[in-house]
């Protein structure tokens, strides 16, 4: 028997139609991005309505809100359905993969919930985040520092020690791509802005793009 006589993976033929965990993670991320986008549209609608003195809702406005609500529910359903499918599969995973996946899920949930929470609060109730001078409330700043400066690095370091060498390599390759994208992309963006050919570089946009690139390379290398 030679390697070419055997199938590439040990998945049963009937299971081929089932999406992989990589596809499920991509769907959950896409649903999360969709939810953030829809939250922005909803907040924009509320702000525009407030600027007009909160008039009664027209049929058109109700239709738009219904579509936003339906799309939001669809995103939530996609995220929940795929999360539950991953959870069911986690119990059958090899020990190290199971532990690594659980930490990843906790980190993604923590990051997603706090990010969405901060974003929505900033739009819906900015007084809870900012003082009258436009400064971020000190307790919230401390929470953000603890999350991003302490819990994040600690969780990442713990996960890196639990995961196997294949995923660690994928993660490091993603980090390398992200670092290079920042190193070369930010000066290019800055130069274009200085020449009046682009909008001013935004730190949050740069970090978001770097994280998306990082996760894209990481997931591709891990699952495909």
């Amino acid at each position: 028997m030679t390697a070419s006589d055997l199938p590439t993976t040990d998945a049963a033929p009937a299971a081929k139609a089932e999406p992989t965990n990589g596809n499920r993670v991509i769907r959950i991320i896409a649903a999360g991005i969709g939810l953030i986008f829809l939250s922005g549209v909803f907040v924009g609608f509320l702000e525009a309505r407030a600027d007009d003195g909160n008039p009664p809702l027209s049929v058109k406005a109700i239709a738009v809100l219904t579509v936003i609500g339906a799309l939001g529910a669809l995103c939530l359903w996609i995220a929940l359905r795929n999360s539950l499918a991953i959870k069911r599969g986690v119990d059958q995973m090899p020990r190290r993969e199971r532990k690594s996946t659980k930490i990843t899920i906790v980190a993604l949930a923590l990051g997603g919930v706090t990010g969405l929470g901060f974003g929505l609060t900033q739009s819906l109730a900015p007084h809870l985040i900012f003082t009258t001078d436009g400064v971020v409330q000190a307790p919230l700043a401390i929470i953000a520092v603890l999350l991003w400066g302490v819990a994040g690095p600690w969780l990442t370091n713990w996960w890196l020690k639990q995961t196997d060498e294949h995923e660690r390599d994928a993660y490091v390759e993603g980090a390398s791509w992200a670092a290079h994208a920042l190193m070369f992309g930010v000066p290019v963006w800055w130069a274009l802005w200085k020449a009046g050919l682009a909008v001013e570089p935004s730190a949050i946009d740069c970090i978001t793009l770097a994280i998306l690139l990082w996760m894209g390379v990481w997931m591709r290398r891990k699952f495909y």
Binding site: M1, T2, A3, T8, R96, E97
Partner: protein, 64 residues
Amino acid sequence: MKNQLKVLRAMRNWSQADLADKLDVSRQAVNAIETGKHDPSLPLAFRIARLFDMTIEEIFDDSL
């Protein structure tokens, strides 16, 4: 790097998940090694060799 992992695993009727559990890696890692997308580290190569009671050279072929 070419290797005999898939054949050795099939001869023992192990799934990728079974082998992953024995090697303490993920199923994706076993798949990546079998398909030549990931070259294992020296410690993992030794674990594989010990598991199959063979030498590293008998399992992995580094000839170009």
